[in-house]
């Protein structure tokens, strides 16, 4: 057994029921073109993209619509051909249910492509910088859900030595199966993407980690690896990891596979690891080999409330109501919609919201008639045992509830990954994660206020100094002519 096959463990974790077979029964279908696409300018972590087209313009599939803003951002392309209607605020998938600026594209149904540079022959000649630029220009972000721009994550200019490239195929969240289906159907493409990532990062080893409940995906990836093993310049492994939520969490997977711990407040690259999702690897292969930017994504539409659960290839910007209609519609009118899985997902407040780059799952669940009763904390400590970050959820809950944010900070609230394990095991059904999110938001806004106040203080002091200096100068000026005339009179 090789050293990296040693089974490391991360603390805590839970075993929620998977419900995965619900959406793996059928092949991947493509959703037909909707009439209108809504493309939010901010579909990624970082700054909003900047619009470069005007209303009324005709655009083709793959054409650049918005360019990235510095320093962390991603461009947005037209998923199909059509006419830009306007750029207006429209409901976006966000827990607030608020609207944000979106490019509204009236689809013409022609699906005519913009002239794309076919780089198939050139891909092998690209150097590291060109490869990263290509990924950046294609608007690729982490497709596992966090939507962090991929090009920023793999940029070696950070000066950290990366010795392990970790490809995340764990997909530990219940209900979600899009990575599983992608690995079953596009294994070759994923390995091509991983190979390109290896060319950029030049790691010592590359590990693809898949949870042991995805038997077909493991078999498909293993089969494809036989063909690709020769082309890799580094050690490459397919590691099967035991099913345990949240193995798919970046820090948990790093611990599980390499045994390394990402220091508090640091990034995986500080531990010498870069982690990318399998779907991101596939998108990278598409971008570099075919020259296709990120225009669509695979999304799991599942849950008890939808008629035809499954995995669908959907254009970015497709409104959720169109997606639901194509999936057979809702079973009843009282359903709850969630973007992502049941553990970490965000509630959606409207079916007008569009599919965005980071949306891996649309979970449609029938609303429980009687909501679970929230009861007092009995200090059983189960949450602390379940926490994969070794935090003390009970203490954090108390401090968040009492608005004692400095104490919560001292108990490492910012290390909480909001995985929901504590909430899952809580016998009192306390919405713990909600408390942590609230506390984190408050702490962040307090920091911002503090920063703003410091800036205001500085500017005020500068202004005072300037006024005083001005007055002093004026007084001196008034005095000087008087002195001069005195001198003159003495001389004469």
């Amino acid at each position: 057994m090789l050293p990296w096959h040693k089974q490391h463990r991360f603390p805590g974790g839970v075993h929620p029921p998977g419900y995965k077979s619900m959406s793996t029964g059928q092949t991947i279908k493509s959703i037909p073109l909707p009439e209108t696409l809504y493309l939010p300018l901010r579909q990624h972590a970082g700054q909003s993209a900047q619009v470069i087209i005007a209303a009324g313009e005709h655009v083709r599939k793959g054409q650049l619509l918005a360019k990235p803003a510095e320093p962390i951002s991603a461009p947005i392309h037209a998923p199909t051909s059509g006419v830009i209607r306007e750029i207006v605020p429209h409901p976006v998938p966000h827990p607030s249910g608020l609207s944000a600026p979106c490019i509204v594209l009236d689809v013409d149904g022609q699906d005519t492509s913009a002239k794309m540079h076919t780089v198939q022959t050139l891909a092998s000649a690209f150097n590291t910088h060109e490869l990263i630029q290509c990924i950046h220009d294609a608007g690729i972000v982490g497709l596992g859900g966090a939507a962090f721009p991929a090009a920023v994550k793999i940029n070696p200019s950070t000066g950290h030595h990366i010795d392990t490239l970790l490809i995340n195929g764990a997909e530990c969240e219940p209900y979600i199966t899009c990575d599983d289906m992608l690995m079953q159907t596009e294994a070759d493409r994923i390995w091509q993407g991983i190979h390109l990532l290896c060319r950029i990062l030049k790691p010592r080893q590359c590990v693809l980690a898949i949870e042991d409940n995805k038997v077909l995906a493991i078999a498909a990836m293993r089969r494809a690896l036989q063909l690709f093993r020769q082309v890799f310049g580094c050690a490459i492994h397919l590691q099967v990891v035991p099913t345990l939520y949240p193995t798919g969490g970046e820090k948990q997977l790093i611990k599980r596979v390499t045994g390394r711990e990402v220091p508090s407040g640091k990034l995986p690259l500080h531990a010498g690891v870069v982690c990318q999702n399998v779907a991101t690897a596939k998108a990278i292969a598409d971008a570099i080999i075919d020259g296709t930017p990120l225009l669509s994504r695979l999304i799991t539409v599942t849950g008890e409330g939808i008629r035809a659960p499954g995995n669908y290839r959907v254009l970015l910007g497709t409104p959720i109501h169109h997606l639901i209609r194509e999936c057979g519609g809702l079973i009843s009118s009282t359903v709850s919609l969630t973007m992502g899985g049941p553990m970490m997902g965000m509630p959606l407040h409207s079916t007008d919201v569009p599919v965005i780059k980071g949306m891996n799952c649309l979970l449609v669940r029938t609303i429980e008639t009687k909501p679970r009763q929230v009861m007092a904390c009995i200090r059983c400590g189960q949450c602390a045992r379940a926490c994969p970050m070794s935090l003390l959820p009970q203490q954090l809950y108390r401090y968040a509830r009492a608005n004692e944010f400095d104490k919560a900070t001292r108990y490492s609230l910012k290390d909480c990954i909001e995985c929901g394990c504590c909430e899952y095991v809580c016998p009192s059904h306390i919405p713990l994660v909600q408390y942590y999110r609230f506390a984190k938001a408050e702490i962040r806004s307090q920091h911002q206020e503090k920063h703003k106040a410091d800036l205001a203080r500085q500017r005020h002091e500068r202004k005072q100094q300037r006024i005083e200096a001005e007055q002093a100068r004026r007084q001196q000026k008034q005095r000087r002519p008087a002195v001069e005339t005195e001198n003159n009179s003495v001389e004469s």
Binding site: V374, Q434, E442, H460
Partner: protein
């Protein structure tokens, strides 16, 4: 008896000397409490507390001449922080001082370029030159409204901050804990 007296006298003299030296050597210029209070205040320099700026208000609090609940831009957080610092009970914001956070905009059509608002702005958040249009840098505006009064053409208006997806904050959970009676 005598030796005890002698020992305590000597000790007293020795400590007195140390304290006297420390008082001269480690003397602090100004009141450190004022700095601490000033650090908590939001520095809008708005004067809504009745003092001509944050520092004068901080000085007044340090001298126990003003209440801690007179700063509307600081809101409840500032009151709680001040209460913590000074060991006083926290109290709700004084009614005459309560107000939502705002910023100002200049109606650029009507601005005559008199520079009066620029002189009034305590944080240099207004840019412009004489006889040229002025404008407010929204990010720097503290919402003190000190520029509204001097404007001769009344072209400065208060606006409330609108919540966007980027400024939105997770609210506190509203679920009430139910206590069941033991049966």
């Amino acid at each position: 008896m005598l030796s005890a007296l002698l020992v305590f006298t000597l000790l007293g003299l020795a400590f007195g000397a140390v304290l006297g030296f420390a008082a001269v050597r480690f003397q602090v210029q100004g009141d450190p409490m004022v700095d601490k209070i000033d650090a908590i205040l939001p520095q809008t320099q708005c004067g809504q507390c009745g003092f001509p700026g944050c520092r004068p208000y901080a000085t007044a609090i340090a001298k126990d001449e003003a209440d801690i609940n007179r700063c509307p831009p600081g809101g409840e957080t500032a009151v709680v922080a001040l209460a913590d610092l000074l060991g006083k009970p926290a109290k709700p914001l004084a009614a005459e001082n309560a107000k939502a956070k705002t910023y100002v905009v200049i109606d650029e059509e009507r601005c005559i370029g008199c520079t009066k608002c620029i002189q009034a702005c305590p944080v240099d958040a207004i840019v412009g030159a004489a006889k040229h249009m002025h404008t407010v840098i929204k990010e720097l505006c503290t919402g003190c409204d000190l520029c509204i009064e001097p404007c001769p053409v009344d072209c400065i208006h208060t606006r409330e901050h609108i919540t966007t997806t980027e400024t939105w904050k997770w609210p506190a959970p509203t679920t009430q804990i139910e206590y069941r009676e033991a049966s």
